[in-house]
């Protein structure tokens, strides 16, 4: 026992942001919820576009000329990412809330008592993993769906105007969703509450806007986080939403805001 506890047994290195990032990477990859959520996100991002394009393609002949004219081939390509955001969001909340529900947070903050490096590391690692997985997923989704649609010559090419921005934008959107959800999880510190907050902001509030007078709704809706972020995924100009990069900037501001509030609370609150 003396041998194991002898001072020579361990180095005397200090805590650095980079080390905390390595630690958070170990944490993220060593729980099952990560692999399940990311697997679900990837399958949904790729699978739905293939399914949607196959259905559209099979029924193309029955479509009215008006329908055909209105058809926007980017929609089926990116539909999966809109469903996958739920899986990414749930994992984002869990990355933080599971630390509280299991008590792990006490060990984490004992190792890193300044606390903020833990929050930054989680955000950096989770955002990087999300982007690294979702970028190939949306690219596969795009090329697969467009090759199915090419049978009817209604497909888009990656080099067409705005297409590359929209497709890569879908991966960026999911990456910011990851950070936003992580921030919410850190603020609420509770899995059920965090997921409820995430779902409310992205899926419940937008349709509720319809109860507002039309002019108010039209003025406010583009600024909701989800709507603002999705402006980046548009290929055709849309007067009801913000310009692509403006909208994405607004969305990033929401995510940054959530992370800043989380940081302030993290330092102030007892654990």
């Amino acid at each position: 026992m003396s041998a194991i506890a002898a001072p020579a047994a361990a180095g005397r290195e200090r805590v650095t942001q980079l080390r905390v990032i390595v630690s958070e990477w170990t944490k993220l990859r060593s729980v099952r919820s990560t692999s399940w959520s990311l697997f679900a996100a990837t399958v949904l991002t790729i699978g739905f576009p293939i399914l949607a394009s196959a259905v559209i393609s099979a029924h193309w002949g029955q479509r009215s000329p008006g329908d055909r004219a209105h058809f926007n081939p980017i929609d089926p390509a990116l539909v999966g990412s809109q469903i996958a955001q739920l899986a990414i969001g749930v994992l984002g909340v869990l990355v933080m809330s599971a630390e509280y529900s299991t008590g792990m947070i006490r060990a984490s903050f004992t190792a890193v008592p300044k606390r903020l490096p833990v929050l930054w590391a989680k955000a950096i690692v989770f955002a990087a993993v999300t982007f690294a997985l979702m970028l190939p997923a949306v690219l596969i989704a795009f090329f697969a769906s467009q090759s199915i649609l090419s049978r009817h010559h209604v497909n888009l090419h990656f080099s067409d105007p705005h297409v590359a921005r929209a497709v890569i934008g879908a991966a960026l959107y999911l990456t910011v969703i990851a950070i936003f959800a992580l921030g919410l999880g850190a603020i609420v510190r509770n899995t059920a509450g965090g997921i409820a907050a995430f779902a409310a902001i992205l899926f419940v509030i937008p349709p509720l806007m319809n109860v507002l007078p039309t002019s108010w709704n039209n003025a406010a809706s583009p600024y909701l986080p989800g709507n603002a972020g999705r402006a980046l995924l548009a290929v055709r100009p849309d007067s009801s939403s913000l310009a692509p990069w403006t909208g994405f900037g607004v969305f990033c501001a929401y995510a940054a805001g959530a992370l800043v509030v989380a940081a302030i609370l993290l330092v102030r609150r007892d654990t």
Partner: protein, 300 residues
């Protein structure tokens, strides 16, 4: 070395820790005693900076815990509440904590063997028994080879072999010159391991003394008396700080008088005694004595 000064913590309008001042010195095992709910765990959280004190301050090795650049090398802690993600394996749990300080994997594997978790190191910690969880907690505490080791109720859930192992471990760590601070609500456990005691009740300091002084100073004399004249004896011994209780018909326990005082009182009243035996108060009794009235919910 841990130095607490006027440490106070309120949760809402409830005062959990109330003006605690004490030093925990290196080279010995210091027991931190108090009934359940007396503020031991809160004090330990304050030491680690997990909670902020309402008033007062506490330093570890000269600095507030948060200000140490490599805190795991300063203090290794086992907290009473579990602090492990249930879905992560023991090895990955230790590895993730080690990586924050650049502690090599080799050290993690050594510790896993050292605490006897080799067989289950890759299993999810949520499946661990209480005893295995304690062993993992102790491995976590030793990870940074710290100057100060702080363990909250470490023998909870351990089998006799595990308890023995903890005792040896704590004494070994103290012998190496480290500061060892161990909480317990069991006096008997502390009697076997601790050299010094800090006793609290309802968040307040009750005693801060070596185990020897504690035993000598805190306990009132206790005498067993056997006599056929019970009522007469009771009256003869009456006094402000004296309690006479009937253990069984004819056998009395007198608290607050020495054997000599009891014998003299009996002689003065012409009472027959069949037995008069002084009792060395156990540490447990001394502890009960001290904390009587400090218990939040006293058992009746």
């Amino acid at each position: 070395m841990i130095e607490a000064r006027d440490l106070t913590k309120d949760y809402g309008d409830k005062r959990a820790v109330d003006g605690l001042s004490f030093d925990v010195r290196p080279g010995i095992v210091t027991g931190f005693l108090g009934p359940n709910g007396s503020g031991k765990s809160t004090t330990m959280r304050l030491i680690l900076g997990l909670d902020r004190p309402t008033k007062g301050h506490v330093t570890v090795n000269g600095k507030p815990y948060r200000e140490h650049p490599a805190p795991l090398h300063e203090v290794g802690a086992l907290l009473e509440a579990r602090s492990v993600h249930t879905g992560r394996s023991a090895r990955n749990h230790l590895l993730a904590l080690a990586q924050t300080h650049g502690i090599p994997k080799k050290r993690v594997d050594e510790l896993i063997d050292h605490v006897g978790l080799h067989e289950v190191a890759r299993k999810r910690a949520g499946k661990f028994s209480l005893g295995m969880g304690q062993r993992l907690g102790i491995a976590t505490a030793l990870l940074g080879d710290p100057h100060t080791v702080m363990l909250d109720e470490p023998v909870n859930g351990l089998d006799p072999e595990g308890i023995q192992w903890i005792r040896t471990l704590l004494k070994g760590l103290a012998a190496e010159g480290r500061t060892v601070f161990v909480s317990s609500h069991l006096m008997s456990e502390m009697a076997l391991t601790a050299d010094h005691l800090i006793v609290i009740g309802r968040g307040r300091l009750i005693a801060d003394a070596s185990v020897t002084d504690f035993l000598a100073g805190a306990s009132k004399p206790l005498v067993h008396v056997r006599s056929p004249q019970g009522e007469a004896l009771r009256e003869a011994l009456q006094g402000p700080d004296v309690t006479v209780t009937v253990v069984e018909p004819g056998l009395f326990e007198v608290l607050g008088l020495t054997a000599a005082q009891v014998g003299e009182a009996a002689a003065a009243h012409g009472i027959v005694l069949h037995e008069l035996s002084p009792h060395q108060a156990s540490l447990e009794e001394a502890f009960m004595d001290l904390t009587r009235g400090e218990l939040e919910f006293a058992a009746t």
